[in-house]
Symmetry: C5
Subunit: 258 residues, 5 copies
């Protein structure tokens, strides 16, 4: 959830906000009671579908995804090749205290320094990787449940408003405004689902896949380093994680430098 | 279905109830005939999709999930490590009569005491685990069918009300209230599906997965105890069932105590 | 499709019927032309999706599922254990002429009496089992297609009625009744899908699974009998088909009797 | 797409047509502009989703399925047993020039006559079978895309009509007829999807499965003939392709004749 | 995305445009504010679901698919057979500098000339193939997300317009035009989804499959060439990629020329 998500979410919300503010009677659109029914009701129903830790965790996962960008594949490969070179020259102990771009990588390097076997490193880090995946997936599920529940709560709010309006139609002048208020909850529900919950759920799923892919790259590299593989061969091996274009550039740069 | 579900379901229903009660003409919203069509009709249609035992069982499964919370993974691991220590010092017979946090675990311990082989224990408990999973899944299916049927029954009720209203439009004043009543069944159907049946179905599915995971932890531990594995190694082995954070804490505590 | 389906279907239809009859202008709800469009049209479109034999067969499958209840698992196990005891004492020829609770079982016993090998029995009965499954599945598909088509035909009928009404609005008094009639087809379509076709399709799917499970129990037992397995061991083996509770009872009874 | 589809499609369309013609103002229902938007627009959008050959091919596949009925399983088995008897008595060369019920079978017999090995026949005909499957599936996909697109184009047409009507409401008398015309495109879209495109797509899928099953029967038989298997054994082997009932009849006839 | 897509997309849009222009008040249909909400809002929300590179890449992938047509299977086979003949006569070095119909093929030929083993060629090109597949799939996903988001944004715009209209109903004459404008966003959303985003997404998916199939043909051929297989056998082997009809023609031509 780097800049694309931030710009997309904020931009779309601002676009709708400006359409409302520049249009007639913008004050009609803010109705605390309607907002409470849709936002409060949806969150409570979603809470009922999960447990407290899972529910709260989803927001932490989303916030973390907002704040921390995944490192670039190219930069990570360069970092790993450098680590491999140091490990080759000075031994794995030379890696102690080195600052690293990712806590997952740091954990793996610590295992190297502690002298764990390649098999143990692979097994433990893979378990860690599956745990992160599971954690992120549960976060995506909460937002995806919110995207399902919000429009339904919006419709419930509108039905309540319509029933109230229809059973009190003595003053024909009040029908319009009453129906406007009734429609507000449907609008809120559609906006929460389409413009907030569903994009966050989709982005968390995407990031989940990318994080797992990056961690799989780290594991491949760490096992190769532990086995004392030549840094150049490690670089070649890892370049398969790059998209074709960058891979070509990488190859040329290598050829130029070789 | 611990507190999260209780608070979620009750909270959301209270929110809607207060919106109705504080709004105009709250008495319109309670219509026994409409309620009978949606609630009675939906339950009858769902009954038609299953057999009597499956239908009644679903409510028992939901009630059980409401009342009994699954033990915490951390507490279960500690309990199992303690059991492993006793089994090591006093033999499996020392476990007889011990109070246990789960009937499934008690059943496994009884097998240990009866001197069953690791293979038999694994096989029998795994069958038991699949049976529980099947039982819970059938409960979730009943609520999930209810979440499908209720809005459809609500729409049928509304269509009946609309046809009645449209064929008797002599008194224009009665149109509004008649339409309000017609919309009530749609409102009931949407509320049953969104705020009751669907959250319970989702929660039962989630709990089903967690219960199966917990039982798989018990089976792993019991087999290791039967084979006389060192309690410390059992603890390490089981810690893979913990989420990363708790696992770290566990490790530190262990290191501090070691 | 035992009593649960019968009570569910008839009960739900009677509930709706009483709401219509006790309400205003019940005679409006019966419109032969609308009924013909939805029922006739839906059946014709469903027919177009299948062949004649498949279409007609679906109703036979449903009727058979209505009339014949599957035997109870517990009773079937007892019957099979008794058969195993006879086969042990008197040889398989002692089974000739015995009355059996299911034609599938009778077919298997005949194979035993004919002296077929365990392998042949397994292979032939498994093929038979897959054929029954296929047959039932095709029946469920027809009703499931009907549940899809009926609401669409209802909407088509309503659109036709609306177009007719809108192009002839000279007499304002006729608008209400004309629209009531237009809505009838949507009501019929929703009722056929929600209260008839979809429950039957779901019930046939459920029964399909249960019938296949029961036939798999028969095959296991017949193979064990052909191989001369001890009836007590056959009983233990088959008890895995029982739900946990009944299994416990069975076990106790066995222990008490042992 | 034998008679069932023809009767189903034509019957349903005639039912709707008679409802329109016998109702008020039947002439309103035929609107060339609306028809052009829905039919033309839908076909163009579906064309955009495929390539020209795939698009045109779908109609050829549907027409072929309309015209040619698949041979009956029972008749095919009899034909194959006869072929096997000839091949046994006169050798495979005796099969040359024989008229056959299916081009696929003719291709296989030609391979037999050409003296291909069982392996080659199996491999080549299986590839042919997968190609036919692929071809038919692509035809079903085109009609299934049409069933998705037509209602959407109908809604687009209705929205255009509504916008036109709403922005020109000076003459209240014109509102009704204008809205009737606007609804026509939705009606056309629903009819094309429900009563034409979706049944054809479903029927092509069904026929696809049956054709693949029949070709698999031919391959089994041809391989057995090439290997010189006894015609009686071939008959027994192929009878597993028959539904249970016919199989029983076949068996009896066989027993009676044996 | 050859001519079929171009003609389909442009044709359908022109059909709708002419219906609008020839109808009443065509100028109502162009509303910049509504267009901004639906187009801008949808693109921003879709952007939020992906990252910048993925978002921009989708349009490049679509444009590339528009401009470059995949080579015909028949022509590719002929090209590959010719290459195989040259490689056989002059050795792989004779292929250097040859102009080729596809960059993917050129890359493979370069590997041949560089003297890579069949295994390496297969492995590297397969990775390349999976990368292209991944790249195209991500493009299809962006358009498919747009097809989901656009109707939802259209509905949000309409709800905003309806709330504005309902809260300002003093002048009854303004109701019609205000509602016409409110409906415009729904119309835009439906048109973007049905007539632009969804056909492009489906076409990219189709092309993706075809491109992967073509690359798999190239890989088969290159491996065979590297292994020095007879060009005639390569031709036979590759002809399995042709649809049945063309295969037959090919066979005849071959027979005639042989």
């Amino acid at each position: 959830m780097d800049f694309a998500t931030l710009i997309g979410l904020v931009g779309a919300l601002m676009l709708i906000a400006s359409a409302v503010i520049l249009g007639v009677s913008p004050d009609v659109f803010l109705n605390p009671a309607s907002l409470l029914i849709v936002v409060g009701g949806s969150l409570l129903v979603v809470l009922a579908k999960f447990s407290f830790p899972q529910f709260l965790d989803a927001f932490k996962v989303a916030a973390r995804a907002f704040k921390f960008k995944l490192p670039e594949t190219q930069a990570s490969i360069e970092e790993l090749v450098e680590i491999a070179q140091i490990a080759r020259k000075e031994g794995v102990l030379g890696l102690e205290g080195r600052e690293l771009s990712s806590p997952f990588l740091a954990q793996g390097i610590q295992m190297l320094v502690d002298g764990q076997t390649a098999d143990t490193i692979k097994q433990l880090l893979n378990k860690e990787r599956l745990m992160t995946l599971d954690h992120n997936r549960s976060g995506a599920k909460v937002f995806s449940a919110l995207a399902d529940v919000a429009p339904a709560m919006g419709m419930i709010g509108t039905l309540i408003g319509l029933v109230q309006m229809l059973s009190n139609m003595e003053d024909p002048k009040s029908i319009g405004p009453a129906m406007a208020v009734a429609l507000l909850t449907t609008l809120y529900g559609a906006m929460i689902a389409t413009m907030i919950a569903s994009p966050i759920a989709d982005k968390l799923s995407l990031r989940m896949t990318e994080e797992a892919r990056m961690q799989s790259l780290y594991i491949d590299a760490l096992v190769a380093i532990q086995e004392g593989t030549n840094p150049r061969i490690i670089e070649q091996m890892l370049s398969s994680y790059l998209p074709p274009k960058e891979r070509a550039k990488n190859g040329e740069a290598e050829a130029a430098g070789g």
